[in-house]
Structure formats: structure tokens, C-alpha cells
Symmetry: C2
């Protein structure tokens, strides 16, 4: 233990119990030593110099119609978890591609929700695959607007926003991208690059059938030059956070149910019988508790941290740059969080966010959950758990280790039901598509911060592994509230707000396509 760690440990005694401190000293969580203190400098990438005034003017002229396209998309419900509006939304996406002039558009049936494929052949040297997700999360009751599917424009402290489920995750930026295509086609009659659109309706379910969506065209898609996912990644102050990858995920249910091992097998029984009868709910609680330390923050599944790949020198430079500009207070305030785990700050927090797998309870339920008292011993208890997987920790290995740990701890009776699993994805910062995106960001003064990947998960391994393409997800634009209440996308920024409004977002997409085409022409 270093002197610095000892001092930190001594300071911790004040707020941690001795048992917790001991657990931390014996933590299986690795400490990553950095081999470089250099920081990546995004401002060194030359700003994109192109100017496409005719297209920009078209965007301004059509802006009301462009906003209406976004509203039309969010008004079409498409909650994948509840199969609510899915087919109609898939058709809406396909119809929009046809209307834009895509030569090939097809709906792809899958064992789950359908996908949409589209191809616009401009006869250009470069080809871009554009990924879209047309599904959204379920809605929770505590929105400040009456109907999260009404597509309302709401006055917000940042300006006029579109407040709706899917406004920023992900219908708003996706339709903004198609608006940009619309403006190029209206002015130029063709596109500077060939486009494939690949859209799925199960991203929020963990994309179990995205491979089947890609399958009909997988060989064609592999010939592309890169893949792109339109996304609002600007903060309110105009800065962008570009993440070059994602963590993987396993999402599963754990369930304890009375049976041969004990507990009530048929239905709940009187609570006083706990004296003689095992409790499935307590079994589930104990099984979940065995997965982490008492603070819930270190995973105790043997081998779980060992599989994670340590930061490469390139990644270290990205992390060093992130650490120099991190604004933890702002991020915490936006989340309504008082502090990070263990009071982490600076580079340590960034490394942990990127390189630690997580274990999280998304939901847990058993027995009586209404008002007052009902005295029962429930016969079944269930939890929804997810674990985010950094590069190196594969989903199959994660499931295997969790099952083995439960078995070793005596929880063979706990059922583990996998709902989803896919690995991480990452694109190197020197890929041409990444450099093009950084050039466009620099043109708009967006001061990109670049991270090796995001703490969140998406099926982007389908691009980086299945299609073997560099993959960029991001763009100008600001939104918040994904997966929670009051989701919004900024449409018309208030005076003094630096984040892009819809028109500037669309201009930046026009520039990105031209930057890719011009790079090929050089």
C-alpha cells in the first residue's frame, strides 16, 4: 500500500466501519497504473473548412417543417418493452426513407420487433452506415407534462425544447439527421456519400435481434467506410462529449421460488410461519447481497475484474485529457446526486466509470407492496439486475462467473434468467471517421472532450466486430432525461445558450457527410 493510499485509508476511518474498510483493502478491484501523463488535444484536429450555404439556407427555410418531423416521430409511441406502437413506428421510418428517395427500403422481420434497412446509392466513393433505434423506454408517472407522447414544445430555461419520450433518446437527433439529408437532396439532388440506414426496434431490450436486422445486407455493409449514429452529445454550454465506444451488458432476472429446497411452493402463506418455513424473498436478498460488498459498490464475483483490459497508452491520453476538464459538480447536479461512490473525484472517478464493471438492481419485487400491513411469507421474489461490461469482460464469461458464484455461495436454488448480453465496442481515436467528426465539432467551436467509451451500453459490437467498421455516435445538439421523466431535446436555444439548436445540428450533419466525401477526394 502506498503512502498516499494509507493516508486516504486513515481519512476513511471517520466515515466507514472497520469491516467496510477491511473489505476495501482486500478489494478485488484493480488499480490501474498509467504509463503516460500526456493528454490528448482535440483542438489540434483542423476545423472542417467547407461551407455549404445553399444547403444551410434550405434548412433555415424549412425549419418549421423539420421540427414537425421530430414531433411526428415522438408522437408515434414505440415502447419496445411493452410492444406499444412498434409496427407503426417501423413503417413510419421505412416510409420516411422512401419519401427521401432511398432506392432500396425494406422491413426485416425478426423473432422480435422488425428492423428497417435502407440504401441510398449516390455513386460516391465513400459509403456511410447510419444506425438508428426507433424504440423508446417505458414512461414513468412523474413527468411534469401530461402526456410524454404528445410531442409538446415546452419553454425551458435553455430555450424551446421538445419534451417527450424519445425526444433525445433517440428520435430527435435521428430525424434531425434525415432533415439534413432532405436539405442536401433538395438543393443538390444527390448526396456526397452513399448511405445505408440500419434501424432496429429493440435497442432498449438489449438488441437481441439486431444481428438478424443486419443479416440480409451484412456483406454489403462490410464494404462501407464507417458507421454513424446521430446523437445529441452537447452540454448546455456547447461542449461535446464524444465517446468512441460503449460498455457491453448482461441483463438478467434472479428469482427465488419455494420448492424442494424449502419455502412455500404454491402461494404465499401466513408470515408467522417464517419460524418453520424458508423465505424465498430473504433467499433472493441474501443471494444478491453475496454479489457485492456491503456498500453495494464492489463486485465479489471471483474473476469479474480480472478479465477487464487495462487502459492502453492512447486511452490513457484520452483519460488524462478528460480529467483535466471534468466538471463533476455539474454532472452530479444534473443527476440529482450528492457525491460519487466513495467520494471519488477526478481521474480516479473517470477510470472507474470506464474500466469497472457494474452490478445494478433495476428492479426488485416480492409479496405485498401496497399500503399498510399484510402479514405474508411470499412464495416468489424476483429482481432485474444488469452488469455493464468494459472491453475484455465478455457477456458469456460474466454469466458463467455469476452463476458459479451463486452456486458456490449455496444459492443453487436461485434461478438466473438471461434477458440480454453483448460485449463492449471501441473505435480508435485516429480512425478517419473520428477525425472527420472532430473537425466538424471544431468548426462549430464545440470543444470536444473525447472518451475511449461510454459507461452505457449499446449493441455497437455489431459495427466494430460484425461489420469491422469504425463507428462514431454523436453530434451537436443537447438533450437530457433519457430513461427518466421530462426527457427533452433543445430545439431553439435561449439567448446566450451555446448548445446548438435544430438548424445548427442539421448543418453539422451536412458538414460531416461532406467532410467524409472530401477526405476521400484528397
Amino acid at each position: 500500500m502506498s503512502i498516499r493510499k494509507r493516508a486516504a485509508a486513515a481519512a476513511l476511518v471517520a466515515c466507514l466501519g472497520a469491516a467496510e474498510l477491511q473489505a476495501r483493502e482486500a478489494s478485488p478491484r484493480p488499480e490501474y497504473a498509467f504509463s503516460t501523463a500526456d493528454a490528448f488535444d482535440a483542438s489540434a484536429v483542423p476545423a472542417y473548412a467547407g461551407d455549404h450555404g445553399d444547403v444551410y439556407a434550405r434548412i433555415e427555410a424549412d425549419l418549421d417543417a423539420h421540427v414537425a418531423h421530430l414531433q411526428r416521430w415522438v408522437r408515434q409511441r414505440s415502447v419496445s418493452a411493452q410492444d406499444d406502437g412498434i409496427d407503426a413506428m417501423a413503417r413510419l421510418v421505412a416510409d420516411d426513407l422512401c419519401a427521401l428517395g432511398f432506392q432500396e427500403v425494406r422491413l426485416v422481420e425478426t423473432p422480435g420487433h422488425p428492423g428497417v434497412l435502407g440504401h441510398y446509392d449516390a455513386g460516391a466513393p465513400r459509403t456511410l452506415v447510419v444506425y438508428m433505434m426507433y424504440d423508446v423506454q417505458p414512461v414513468e408517472p412523474n413527468w411534469r407534462i401530461d402526456d410524454p407522447f404528445a410531442g409538446e414544445l415546452v419553454e425551458h430555461e435553455l430555450g424551446t425544447v421538445l419534451m417527450a419520450r424519445g425526444a433525445t433518446n433517440q428520435k430527435g437527433p435521428q430525424r434531425a439527421f434525415l432533415n439534413a439529408i432532405d436539405a442536401i437532396l433538395a438543393t443538390r439532388g444527390t448526396l456526397p456519400v452513399n448511405l445505408y440506414v440500419v434501424a432496429e426496434g429493440e435497442e432498449e431490450l438489449g438488441s437481441p435481434n439486431f444481428g438478424a436486422v443486419l443479416a440480409p445486407w451484412v456483406d454489403r455493409l462490410r464494404e462501407a467506410d464507417g458507421a454513424f449514429f446521430p446523437m445529441n452529445i452537447q452540454g448546455p454550454k456547447g461542449d461535446v462529449a464524444l465517446n468512441l465506444g460503449v460498455k457491453g451488458i448482461v441483463y438478467f432476472e434472479l428469482e427465488a421460488r419455494g420448492g424442494e429446497w424449502g419455502g412455500p411452493g404454491r402461494s404465499e402463506i401466513h408470515g408467522s410461519l417464517k419460524s418453520l418455513v424458508d423465505s424465498p424473498a430473504l433467499r433472493l436478498v441474501q443471494a444478491i447481497a453475496s454479489l457485492t460488498t456491503a456498500d453495494g459498490n464492489t463486485i465479489l464475483v471471483p474473476g469479474y475484474y480480472d478479465a477487464v483490459r487495462a487502459p492502453t497508452p492512447d486511452e490513457q491520453r484520452l483519460v488524462n485529457a478528460l480529467a483535466s476538464t471534468a466538471d463533476e459538480a455539474a454532472m452530479q447536479a444534473s443527476l440529482g446526486v450528492s457525491r460519487w461512490i466513495d467520494g471519488l473525484q477526478g481521474r480516479e472517478a473517470i477510470v472507474r466509470n470506464l474500466y469497472d464493471p457494474t452490478l445494478n438492481i433495476n428492479g426488485i419485487w416480492s409479496g405485498y407492496t401496497g399500503e399498510g400491513m399484510k402479514t405474508i411469507l411470499p412464495h416468489v421474489a424476483t429482481a432485474k439486475i444488469d452488469s455493464r461490461l468494459p472491453p475484455g469482460l465478455e457477456p458469456e464469461a460474466a454469466y458463467r462467473m455469476i452463476r458459479a458464484h451463486l452456486d458456490a455461495q449455496g444459492f443453487r436454488d436461485i434461478e438466473l434468467r438471461p434477458l440480454s448480453g453483448y460485449p463492449a465496442a471501441a473505435t480508435p481515436v485516429d480512425a478517419p471517421l473520428v477525425q472527420a467528426a472532430l473537425g466538424v465539432f471544431n468548426k462549430y467551436g464545440a470543444q470536444p472532450r473525447v472518451a475511449p467509451w461510454l459507461g452505457g451500453s449499446a449493441p455497437f459490437y455489431q459495427f466494430t466486430r460484425t461489420l469491422e467498421l469504425p463507428f462514431v455516435f454523436g453530434g451537436l445538439g443537447h438533450g437530457s432525461g433519457a430513461h427518466g421523466p421530462d426527457e427533452y431535446m433543445l430545439i431553439r436555444p435561449a439567448e446566450g445558450v451555446a448548445a446548438a439548436g435544430l438548424a445548427e445540428i442539421e448543418r453539422s450533419y451536412v458538414d460531416l457527410l461532406h467532410a467524409l466525401a472530401e477526405d476521400a477526394a484528397q
Copy 2:
């Protein structure tokens, strides 16, 4: 460790992990050494010899009307936890007492649901307090009949039963008792004993205001000779299980909520943020897990078992008798349970059921509990926990120890919200009221098994402590499904079923009142 225990421990190695075995060896749960092997002999109590043929004939003649009274009671909803039908049920009880000829009847307002007091002064030497609860548990969806409040007569393998919420817990036997009163008054014009009825509508809520119900008449009630609670305690084969007391209870909610300590304070956030943000759901799980061993069956709250009073010699004789006739397989089958905790059997299971406090999860909930996946980190997690308290372990002490344990384990941030708490109650087997009840049971060949108390809880300390009266709860009659689906009371037994039907139940109540009166006359 005795040789016998060592052998048992060796046998356990096959099915328990080493950690679990070690936990058991270090268990804080006491082993109670018995000082006597004698068994209490209930059959030695002389059978009640009285015969009240005129009253019995009245019961037979009015039986259809008597069944209709039971149906009328269960059809009146009275779910205390949901404040559903409570006031109407209180009025119904009061109106019935008036109709029977009780000279004083009053509704008692409380901070919660109202109580009902009634007095029938027969000018008799002996006075009996009759306790009633007019509330019922909420209903769950999985009943085999459409409406648990329809008061349906259903053909069951045991005969014709009344299947309804409250059929056996507790409206059926209570109204059967009033039917018996009705028959005595119809034939004799008066009762052999004076009666007080004290009825509450919050038993299923832990009787928080039962003291307020008793308060107006507490000094009068203290002058009575005993207190009685009509209850179906017969098994299908006709045997009765008479419990001379109850355990106490604490029922509370534990809640973890994001705040200064960490976690999301405002609403749920994206699940991937678990890398940096504490999880209230995992905190709650860890806090509950800290309360018990990994099997959920031994409470780890320091001092919790120490407060429990060891079995007295009288209680040991009752336990020895119970052990000689226990039919665990039948009880397990009726509950849908494969085995008791740790495979316990015989006297060991009985002692544990009576002398161990319990810790049970009645319900737990947090986050997303619907179909499919929603990837969130919930900001709040809640559990409903109860603990049953044997004599000696007081509710105030239980709450204090649980809070102190949570604090010591680092869970100061977990809120503990007491919903209820009251101590155990027990009446000695040699009390005259107990002996009268045993004499009546013996008259009907019901072969009473007598336990020092029940594993369940009820506010009977109000009789044994507040009123300082011997208290008996029980009577002929069979029912099942209390607190669960398909609750029923047997009305007309099928051929060969020994459990009493409604007519015999009512005759036995007639006999009990006369046995008490005749005991006074001797």
C-alpha cells in the same frame, strides 16, 4: 457440542456449504434444555356433561338463517389496510348486537378505524369478555372463485364451505358465536353469563388503536372472569389445536433513498451510472441481508435471542405432548411446503416455532417491475418486514436492537418506519376458562392439543396485561386460507368428515357459556 449434535452436524455437511455449517455452529440461537419429559394429558380434563337440548333444537331449526348471517358478514367488505367498507362493517356489528338485545352498544371513534363495544347484562355471577375483529386482509388475484366478497357456498372435498375473505379469519366463527347467543335468548330469554363484546377493525393492521377501543370501559372489563375469541381451530379430522397465547410482533418498513450519503436523490437515473453512483436498492438489500444468516433463518441482531424467556416446566409438558402427536407432513402439505427450515422435525421444530423470534420479508419493491428490461438505477427501495416476538422479547427492545444493528453495520442511512408493535400474551393451562374450554372439547371428542402459544400474533396482551384476564381463543369448526387465496369455513361437513359443521360449532359455544356459569355455581 453433544455427540448427537456432532452426528447431526456431520450429516448436514452433505447439504450445507462449509460457511453455512460454520454459521450454524456459531449461531446465536439458544438451545433449550428440558427439565421434564412428562407430557400434558388433555383427555384427563372431565368432558362437559351439560345438555341443552332446547337450545340445540333452536339452532337446527334456524340453521339456514344462521348460515345467511355468516354470508351477510363476509359480503360486507372490510379491508382495513385499504379502508374499504370499514365504517359499514362497524355499524353492521353494532346493529347485530342491538338486534340480539345487548342493552348497551356503542361505536368508539379512534384515530384509526372505529371500535364497537357491547354489554349484555344477564344478572349472572360470571362475566365473559368476547373479543372480535371485524376487519379482513386485502385480497390477492389468484382465487378460484370470481369474487372473494360474494359469500358463496362452495362444494369442497370436506363438504359445503363458505368461501370468502373473512370466512374463517374471523367473521365466520364470530357470527357463529352470536348465532349461539341468539338461540339461547330465543329459548331461555336470557344468558347464563353476562357478556361484553369488544370489537376492533384494525387487527390486520396490528391493532394500533385497540387500547382506545377498550378505554371507555376498561375498568368494567377488568372485573370480568375471562376473555374469549371465537375461532375455528379444528383440523379436518376433528382434532383441535388450542393455543394459550400468541407471539408479539414488530412490523416495519425499511427504506433506502438517495441523499447526502449518495445515490440518486431526485428520481431514477440511467442504470449505467452505477459505476459512479450508489444504489439505494443494493443498500436496502445489503441492510436486510445483514439481519440474518445467508439462509435467511438465523437473526444476527445482537441480543435478539437473549431476551426470550426459556420454556417453563408447564410449557415443557405442553410441548412434550405436542411432540408426541405432531403431524408435520399434513401441515406441510396443507401449506404447500416441502420441508421445515433445516429439515427440523418433532420437538425441535415445535420449540423453534414457539420460542424463536422470526424475521420475515412481507414485501419488497424498487424500480422497474414490469415486463422486459428497463435500465435504471432506482432512487428508492422499500421493504415491509415483520418479526414475531416470543414472551420476553418486547417490541420496544426489538426495535431498539434492530436500529442499533443497522447503525453498527453502517446502515444509518436506512430509514426504519415502525408500523406496529406489541408484545406476546400467554394464559396458564390451569386457568378455569381454559379448563372449561377443554371440557367442552372433550365432550365433542375433539381431542385437544394444547400449545403454550401460537406462532402468529394478535393484540391479546390487551387481555392478559391491560385487563389482566385469562384469555382463550378457539372453538370447534374448521377453516383455512387465512391471509391467502380461497379462504373458507366448513359449514356442512361431508359424510365421514369429523370436523364440526355450523350447528355443532354453535352448540359447543352454548355449552362453553353454561360450563363457565356452572363452574361459578359449584
